[in-house]
Every structure is written in structure tokens, then in C-alpha cells.
């Protein structure tokens, strides 16, 4: 049996304040095969972005990754030196952010930024490097790529900038790309174009994706597997069909039910009352318990352990019924 491309075990990241270290995410277990697309779904405060940054090694003070292993092709990233990690980033693992201007330097031409991204990891003759840049831009659908190389980021529209950011991420043919809400700020038709490109690239190059979002619809259409996060923990995971058609965790069910698309027009939507707790406002047990219609006192005091069926897992003392076999 081959080792998975990425295996995260028992990851915990905390944020330090005077009162103590509040766990932003805990007990994170993720398993990703080569070429697989995993959707990491959650609302604000669920810890989905912190998870992505923790895997990528980008947690800075006052944050700290305190526990767990991040096994990339069998190697624990947390044990690597800063220099070794730097070599991996941009080469084998890349990251795309919600705001493309986090990737793109507004005062440098695209050409310089792309050449720099290649140069940091391998020495290619300039002509060859330029050729690769042009190919990358063409692959994300930028028209007249040779000319656009000389442009500055502000000369592109929002959707185009994001595509350039994706092209940069793809330059060195990474094995894994972590995408933190890359299409949230974009219009629906532009989002469609970007999802199309991502799908093409992943199928052509066998790149694995972790797609972080709050939009269940995008995950449904794009991903193979999904992990639902709430209050810093993964509360449910499985294939997209399993989780979205037959959720076991009450939060997943509540989320699906509250979508307007799932409701009859004109009728009240099923809503989840209350709001997600802040880092310091969680209960010792299941973070969703205060809002959960099925919660028992045990749910508040005790953290539910993971119930695992092959390929499927959830954390709940009072899960929903399994679908009839």
C-alpha cells in the first residue's frame, strides 16, 4: 500500500494571549492521496484557514503549532529545518490565497515574479524559464501570454490576477496546492472559469488540492472528499457524496438545511440559532453543543471521540441515523 501524499496526524495550533494558549485547531487528522481534491469546509472561526497555514508552515507568533505530525510523502514537515521547508514551498507544495495581492507584488512585473519563483528552486536557462512561464499563463487561460508577461498586477482584473497567482503556484508542478478561499471574492461567472482551469490542471498534472471554503456548492461540484470543520475540529469527513447526501453530524445537516437552494421558496429557512463561539468562548466538550438541537449535557462536558468507518469519520455522541444500507 502506497503512503498517502499528505497525512496530518493530531495537529494542534494555539494562539497565545496573557491568559493562556487558546487552541485554534485541535485533533486534526487529514489523509490525502496524490491527485485527490479535498474540500475543507467551515464558517468563520472554524479554523479552516489556520489548518491550511499550519500545514504550509506559515503560523507565526502569537500562534504556535504545538502538536502533531504533518507527513508529506512520509516526511514530517514539522521536523524540517527552515531552509528545507523553504525549498519545499513553491516547489512541491504551493498555496493560493483569497486576495491575489498576497501573492503578487504590485511593483514588479509578472515576468520578474514568475522567473523568481522558478529560480528559487532550480537553475534553468532564461529562455527555457520564460517558455515555462508562457505555458503556465496559457494553461490558466490568459490570452496573449507573451505580451501579458510584461504587465504589472494592477493591469489585470481581479479574476485574471487570481489566475496569475494560480499560474505561479503551478510553475514548478507541485504535488499539492493549498487554496484558501481563492474564489470567494470573485463573481460567479469568473469563479466558474477558475474552477474549470483548476480542474483541467489537476487532471493533467495529477496535482492534489486542499480547497478551503465556506461554499458547499463549490465543494460539491469540485471535490472528491470533504472535511467539515467547526470550533477548531473536523466534525465530519468522507466522500462528497457520503457527507452531502447522508450527513451524520448535526452541524453538517444544519448547514445543508439552511441553504436557500434546499428550501421551498417563500418558506422560512431552517436556521441554526446562535453563533459560532470565539476562541475563548468554547465549551470543553463539543463546540457545537450550545447550538445543537440534539445535544445532551454530556456533549457540553466531554469531547466526543472520532467514530471511524473506513473512509468516513465523525465526532458526535448523538449522530444522525446512518442511511439504510
Amino acid at each position: 500500500m502506497t503512503i498517502p501524499l499528505l497525512e496530518v496526524q493530531d495537529l494542534q495550533t494555539v494562539f497565545h494571549t496573557e491568559e493562556g494558549a487558546w487552541p485554534a485547531v485541535s485533533d486534526i487528522d487529514i489523509r490525502l492521496e496524490a491527485g485527490e481534491i479535498l474540500g475543507l469546509v467551515g464558517e468563520s472561526g472554524s479554523g479552516k484557514s489556520v489548518t491550511g497555514f499550519s500545514i504550509f508552515g506559515m503560523i507565526d507568533a502569537p500562534g504556535e503549532v504545538t502538536q502533531g505530525r504533518v507527513l508529506f510523502k512520509g516526511q514530517d514537515l514539522r521536523e524540517l529545518s527552515a531552509e528545507s521547508m523553504r525549498k519545499l514551498r513553491g516547489d512541491r507544495i504551493a498555496m493560493i490565497f483569497q486576495d491575489p495581492l498576497m501573492t503578487l507584488n504590485p511593483v514588479l512585473r509578472i515576468e520578474e515574479q514568475m522567473l523568481e519563483a522558478i529560480d528559487a528552486h532550480q537553475k534553468l536557462p532564461k529562455a527555457q524559464a520564460l517558455q515555462r512561464c508562457v505555458e503556465a499563463l496559457a494553461m490558466v487561460g490568459i490570452p496573449a501570454p507573451e505580451k501579458r508577461l510584461r504587465s504589472y498586477p494592477h493591469e489585470f482584473s481581479g479574476g485574471m490576477r487570481q489566475r496569475v497567482a494560480i499560474a505561479i503556484a503551478m510553475l514548478n508542478r507541485p504535488d499539492l496546492i493549498i487554496c484558501d478561499e481563492p474564489t470567494t471574492a470573485l463573481d460567479v461567472t469568473i469563479q466558474g472559469q477558475i474552477l474549470y482551469r483548476m480542474q483541467q490542471i489537476c487532471q493533467a498534472q495529477g496535482t492534489a488540492l486542499i480547497w478551503i471554503t465556506h461554499d458547499l456548492g463549490v465543494i460539491a461540484e469540485l471535490a472528491d472528499r470533504v472535511a467539515v470543520m467547526y470550533g477548531g475540529r473536523i466534525v465530519e469527513t468522507g466522500t462528497v457524496a457520503e457527507v452531502l447526501d447522508a450527513p451524520r453530524h448535526p452541524y453538517t445537516q444544519g448547514l445543508l438545511n439552511s441553504l436557500p437552494a434546499q428550501a421551498t421558496p417563500g418558506e422560512r429557512l431552517t436556521q441554526i440559532n446562535g453563533m459560532a463561539p470565539s476562541l475563548s468562548g468554547r465549551v470543553p466538550g463539543c463546540a457545537f453543543a450550545p447550538r445543537c438541537g440534539r445535544a445532551t449535557p454530556r456533549c457540553v462536558d466531554e469531547q466526543p471521540p472520532v467514530t471511524t468507518i473506513p473512509g468516513r469519520a465523525f465526532r458526535c455522541f448523538v449522530p444522525l441515523e446512518a442511511p439504510a444500507a
Binding site: 497565545h16 493562556g20 494558549a21 507568533a61 502569537p62 453543543a289
Partner: protein
């Protein structure tokens, strides 16, 4: 009526999860977090400064403005000399027989008064102009900003010299001279901020609710634009003090009978070469210390006022 926004289960606050107290890097991280300078130290320094300055008349051994109390025979005495009356001249005397310590304390007082009042006045005038220009836009903005540009085109000292030549000497005239040029800076800063803030939706909401223009300007726009102006003002206090010192040094600021630090330094200049260093040096050091403290306090306050709540 909608159900109040209560979670389905009320959780006793004491039953909340507790944070971790021990992690591999907690100590290092906390050290970094705590090293951020606190505002408390700065405020204490400020209060001390203000106290010394306000209490100057009571603290100083001698009233340096009372010409009758001065004894020319006591002129140019070294620090720690004794006076005929038994008083110790801790920092020596100047050529008029004035106790340097008392003169410095009073001089500090004048410097601080000038600095603070010039800044307060310039802030009020400049903020008003900037606010009106930003809120009304159009030709109002154009006219006001061209005036601001015009004034900013003149070097402050030059304008101050001309104004003081016209107005005569005196602490209040110095303040007026400083304000007449400085307000333009505040106007620009306020206008820049107000232009940004004016586009925000709570201003649109206020218009949508039919509030009159002056109310939107003063109740909604102004309080949210004070930040950068306050930051600038704290820097400008030191500048105003230096400006006053310069003008007095040049002989156009305060009258000779009520010397400020600048004038004291000027007075002592001629004696530097003959070895009576204390007449210039101590006022100079005092001025330096004052500017340094104000800048440090200003730095701390700026960090505290930083909008990254």
C-alpha cells in the same frame, strides 16, 4: 416578533474550556508580546513633566522674572556656588545674576505652554477647514485646498519672523505666528482622512435618514477622523517647541525679561568661549530632554491610538 438571539443551551461561563498554560514556545512568544511598550510609562512621564512645569513658580528657588531679586554681583557664578543670601545656585547663574535652575524651570514652562497651545489651536482650525473641504467637495474643496497649498508653500520660520516683526514680541504672539502656518498641515491630514471616511456606508446611512449636513460632519465624520490628526499633533508639539526656541534664540520671540530656553541659550552663547559653559549648556540640555520626552511619549501614544484594535 423574532425569538431573541439566544443559543439553544445556556452555558454557565464557569464551565468554559480553559486555555493551555504550557507549550514549547510559550515563554518566547510571551516575551515578544510583552515587549510592546506600554502606554502607562509614557503617561506617568507626561504627568511628571506637566507637574514640574506647572509647579515651576513654587519649585524654583528664585523668581527669574523679578528683576529686583537679581543681583548683578552674582553674575556668571559657577554651578553649586553660594549666594550672599545663603541660597545655592545649583546650576550657576547667567550674566544677569539669574539662578539658572529657576530660569530653566520657567523656560520649560513657557516652552511647553507654547507647544501645547499652538498645537491645540492649529488642530482646531485645521481640522475644521479640512472637514468642511472634504464634506462639501466641489468648489468649496478647491478654494480651501488652494489656500492650504499656498500657505504650505511658505517656510514656517520665514512667515513667523515676518509676523513677529509686525506683531512684536511676546509668548502669545509666538503662538499666533506658529498657528498661522501650521494649521494648513492639519487641514490636509483631516481632509485626506475625511475623504476616505465619507465614502463609508454609515455616512450614507446618515444621509438616508435625512440628517442635516452639519450633524453628519460633527457627530459622524469628525470623531472617526481624529486618529491621524492626533498622531500628527503629538509630533508637532516638539516641533512647535523647537520653533519657539529658534525664534527666541534669534531674538524675535519672547521678551528678554521673561526668557525661554531659546533665549537663555542665546544669552549664554557669548560666554561659551570664556569657559562659562553652564549658561548655554544647561538650558540646551533641558530643551533636548524636553523634546526627547515628548517624542517618546508621542510614540507610545501613537501606538496606543493605533486603530488595530
Amino acid at each position: 416578533m423574532m425569538q431573541p438571539d439566544k443559543p439553544l443551551m445556556t452555558i454557565d461561563p464557569s464551565k468554559r474550556a480553559q486555555p493551555l498554560q504550557d507549550t514549547p514556545q510559550r515563554r518566547a512568544i510571551l516575551k515578544k508580546l510583552r515587549s510592546k511598550p506600554s502606554v502607562k510609562g509614557a503617561v506617568i512621564a507626561l504627568v511628571l513633566l506637566l507637574a514640574v512645569v506647572l509647579l515651576a513658580p513654587f519649585l524654583s528657588p528664585q523668581n527669574p522674572y523679578d528683576l529686583g531679586a537679581l543681583d548683578l554681583m552674582d553674575g556668571r557664578l559657577k554651578p553649586m556656588s553660594e549666594a550672599a543670601s545663603g541660597m545655592t545656585y545649583w546650576l550657576g547663574t547667567d550674566d544677569q545674576g539669574r539662578d539658572m535652575l529657576s530660569a530653566i524651570l520657567h523656560g520649560l514652562r513657557i516652552s511647553l505652554m507654547v507647544g501645547l497651545s499652538a498645537v491645540v489651536l492649529a488642530t482646531i482650525i485645521g481640522s475644521l477647514v479640512g472637514l468642511v473641504a472634504a464634506y462639501f467637495g466641489g468648489w468649496v474643496d478647491t478654494v480651501l485646498m488652494r489656500i492650504v497649498d499656498f500657505i504650505l508653500g511658505f517656510p514656517t520660520i520665514l512667515v513667523a519672523l515676518v509676523l513677529l516683526a509686525i506683531l512684536g514680541r511676546g509668548v502669545d504672539k509666538v503662538v499666533i505666528a506658529i498657528v498661522m502656518v501650521q494649521w494648513a498641515h492639519y487641514a490636509r491630514i483631516m481632509r485626506g482622512r475625511a475623504l476616505q471616511e465619507r465614502k463609508k456606508e454609515y455616512i450614507e446611512a446618515a444621509k438616508n435618514l435625512g440628517f442635516p449636513g452639519w450633524r453628519i460632519m460633527t457627530r459622524h465624520l469628525l470623531p472617526n477622523c481624529m486618529g491621524p490628526v492626533m498622531v500628527f499633533a503629538t509630533i508637532q508639539i516638539a516641533n512647535a517647541i523647537v520653533l519657539e526656541a529658534t525664534l527666541s534664540f534669534l531674538g524675535v520671540g519672547v521678551p528678554i525679561t521673561e526668557p525661554s530656553l531659546g533665549l537663555l541659550i542665546a544669552n549664554g552663547f557669548q560666554y561659551l568661549m570664556s569657559g562659562d559653559y553652564w549658561i548655554s549648556m544647561f538650558p540646551g540640555l533641558a530643551l533636548l530632554a524636553l523634546i526627547l520626552s515628548i517624542n517618546l511619549i508621542g510614540d507610545r501614544l501613537r501606538e496606543a491610538l493605533d486603530p488595530r484594535k
